[in-house]
């Protein structure tokens, strides 16, 4: 077998046992790997109505067949579980090196079940599987955790190669927006997957191995990869803009389009010069790349400290910056560092704090609730609240439940700016309609990861128009499901790559015989299976809805002034294209066409 290792490691944390299983061949051809195979396994094995923080939930870390092969941007793995934030499926991708090292350790997928009695970490770095007591790590932040585990490895050469994914205090304290941080700077951020890991008393996963990842046609594969590298070098976006500014370059684009939300989506930021990619460049970032990426859009910045951390991306800047009224890139870098160390999702955390700020300014709760006056633009307050949130101390205990529960508690559910209980990233659906439709319909909550229409909308077609957006969003969502399943980063699309390149690399690596239509179909199948998980979890299609503010309050400035989201117009067309009924449930015919009828029936029979 090439591409896939073909092996799944299942760990029962409750009784400390583990076993290696072959990866289901049907899962490989229909759901590919990574996100898709993870979703299929979760769908088959858990009741979607379980309490996401109970031992009955499972956490799956899953790499794709192209992860670690040298395929361009082939570094992705996904964390899949039932989300404690949304109650829906969570599939949260991450980059870096963990996915590659997991495959060298011999596995495509880790399935983590049950709950350990006391804190442990999982060590798969010595050619065997071990659960190690982690009492000494509990309470440490993610950087300290990684440093201590590596410092205690007897073999320094092994330590150099070892990759670690861990949770910080936020995951331990079951914050609903906790992330799983890997390789220090990357994270499976969205939907509270870190809280699921914390609920299992699992502090860290340590991987290292020397097993080969087979490639079916190595030499032709190298030729193709080299051609793509040349193409990456030739495209201005991937040769210059991204390596210089990262995705932060889009901050300026969004503000030009009147789409950069400020102060919990009450306003937009017209002048982004203090928080955009150029502002980031003034901090002299050093370039950093994920495994086998010819673009290298990540950066390290040190702000105020010697400690270098990952520079904030577009999403991070939007949420921790203008979203909280903080128009200062240095402050965003500091807040992002706190999120990485504490193991918090910057988007959900920033969105929750922004919601709290608006609640406070609207007088929804007395100042004593927080202990100090909470106002937009207070960067110090953001830092303090992140810390409190991760430790669930004081007002942080309320914030740790996420924006929807926060706004509900104080009787202003209308001030929560998110979908399915997950905070929207900083992109205003009133100015960029396709992004709004995607946020409303994404199965695992709004995020650019699961359907990136930004580039097409910003550079290609009328951002504030609705024509063609239903089709665009469907295609972007299916493509993203595919890319996260084969193990490629969505940013590869910025070099102009799409299905033909995914297909070519898949074929040369795996020789699986899937054509491009099969691959796109797999993406659609995965998206629909996720939707069925949500349906069975009791989430009705009615939650395919944006916050009222997006539909009722026209933008007050910028080039999209006067616009509201035209979601109701788009969603009917979208559901038609999807083959879904008016409640957002896939039709029998669609399930049959995707070969999902049996899988769904088997799930319902349980």
């Amino acid at each position: 077998m090439a591409g896939w290792t073909g092996k799944v490691l299942r760990v029962d944390l409750g009784n400390g046992t583990f076993q290696t299983e072959p990866m289901d061949p049907q899962s490989r051809s229909l759901y590919i790997g990574g996100r898709g195979a993870g979703v299929k396994l979760l769908y088959d094995e858990i009741d979607p109505r379980v309490d996401p923080l109970s031992p009955a939930n499972k956490l799956i870390l899953s790499a794709g067949p192209l992860t670690g092969t040298g395929a361009i941007t082939g570094c992705l793995f996904s964390a899949v579980a039932k989300s404690p934030l949304t109650g829906c499926i969570a599939s949260s991708p991450s980059q870096g090196f963990f996915g590659t090292e997991l495959k060298h350790a011999g596995y495509d997928m880790l399935v983590l079940e049950g709950k350990a009695e006391a804190p442990v970490y999982l060590d798969i770095s010595k050619g065997k599987v071990e659960l190690v007591p982690a009492g000494h790590l509990w309470g440490l932040n993610t950087f300290q955790t990684e440093d201590l585990i590596k410092a205690r490895m007897h073999d320094k050469w092994k330590a150099l190669d070892t990759s670690i994914a861990c949770i910080g205090p936020a995951g331990e304290n079951l914050c609903r927006m906790a992330s799983i941080v890997n390789d220090r700077h990357w994270a499976a951020s969205h939907s509270g997957v870190g809280a699921v890991m914390g609920s299992k008393n699992l502090k860290a996963i340590v991987v290292n191995g020397v097993e080969d990842i087979y490639v079916a046609s190595a030499k032709p594969f190298m030729d193709v990869v080299l051609a793509y590298i040349e193409q990456t070098r030739a495209a201005p976006l991937t040769s210059r803009v991204l390596p210089e500014q990262g995705t932060a370059f889009l901050v300026e684009k969004l503000s030009e389009l009147g789409a950069l939300p400020a102060c919990n989506f009450q306003a937009i930021l017209v002048d982004s010069s203090s928080v955009d990619g150029k502002a980031l460049r003034r901090l002299s970032p050093r370039k950093m790349g994920c495994f086998s990426c010819p673009i290298g859009c990540e950066h390290l910045v040190s702000e105020g400290q010697d400690l270098e951390v990952m520079a904030p991306s577009l999403e991070v800047i939007g949420s921790l910056g203008p979203g909280c009224g903080v128009n200062n890139i240095e402050a965003v870098v500091r807040a992002n560092r706190a999120c990485l160390q504490m193991g918090l999702d910057p988007v959900s955390s920033g969105g929750t704090i922004a919601c709290a700020m608006e609640l406070s300014e609207a007088g929804a709760f007395p100042e004593e609730e927080v202990g100090f006056a909470l106002r937009f633009g207070d960067a110090e307050a953001v830092l303090k609240l992140l810390e409190l949130m991760a430790r669930r101390e004081g007002f942080g205990n309320v914030l740790a439940e996420g924006g929807r529960r926060l706004a509900g508690k104080y009787g202003r559910p209308d001030l929560f700016m998110g979908v399915r209980s997950q905070e929207m990233p900083g992109c205003d659906p009133r100015a960029i309609e396709g992004a709004g439709l995607h946020f409303a319909t994404a199965n695992s909550g709004p995020s650019f990861d699961s359907g990136d229409t930004l580039l097409t909308e910003i550079l290609g077609i009328n951002p504030s128009g609705v024509e063609g957006k239903a089709g665009l969003v469907k295609e972007a969502q299916d493509l993203s499901a595919l890319m996260e399943s084969v193990g490629l980063c969505r940013k590869m699309q910025m070099a102009g790559f799409s299905i033909p390149e995914v297909f070519a690399m898949m074929e040369m690596v795996t020789a699986s015989g899937m054509n491009d239509a099969d691959l796109m179909k797999a993406g659609e199948r995965i998206f629909n299976l996720e939707r069925m998980f949500n349906v069975r979890a009791g989430v009705e299609g009615g939650s395919d809805m944006l916050p009222r503010r997006m539909l009722d309050e026209p933008l007050k400035e910028g080039i999209a002034m006067g616009h509201v989201s035209r979601l109701p117009e788009m969603i009917a067309e979208y559901r038609g294209l999807r083959g879904w009924d008016e409640r957002g449930t896939p039709s029998e015919r669609k399930l049959d066409e995707l070969g999902l009828t049996d899988a769904v029936a088997a799930g319902e029979a349980k």
């Binding site: 670690g68 050469w157 190595a218 590298i229 495994f291 990426c293």
Partner: protein, 128 residues
């Protein structure tokens, strides 16, 4: 004049695509960066591409950590040789030492240089 591979570590972003290229080139059927003849060694948050030199039977007898500009570097890790105390640049299963061969002649074949987009690995002319 001959071409040589020049390493400028200050440009390296640590993506390790060079490792994948090397491993793929020297294998018929797979990729395993642990078999690669170039490794990107991380020291703190800096990345150092190191090309495999010859295996040496000798073990160094000096302190290997040096301080430059307030940062510590493990010179043993950055050394091009594998030796009795250093398992890098050896086949993981057989322990056979590995050495960079520029992917054959001419040196313009070098897969790592072709795949490097950061500018850390380039070919330069050097007088004989």
């Amino acid at each position: 004049m001959t071409l040589k591979i020049k390493v400028d570590h200050s440009k390296c972003n640590g993506c390790r695509h060079c490792e994948a290229a090397c491993a793929l080139y020297h294998s018929e059927d797979g990729v395993n960066t642990h078999r690669s003849r170039i490794r990107v060694i991380k020291q703190g948050e800096e990345f150092f591409p190191v090309l495999a030199g010859p295996y040496t039977e000798a073990k160094c007898n000096v302190t290997n950590v040096i301080r430059i500009g307030g940062k510590e570097y493990d010179m043993c890790a950055l050394c091009v040789a594998s030796c009795p105390v250093k398992p890098v640049f050896r086949e993981p299963d057989t322990d056979i030492p590995l050495k960079c061969d520029h992917c054959g002649e001419p040196v313009t074949n070098a897969s790592c240089v072709k795949w490097c987009t950061s500018g850390a690995l380039t070919l330069v002319e050097e007088e004989d």
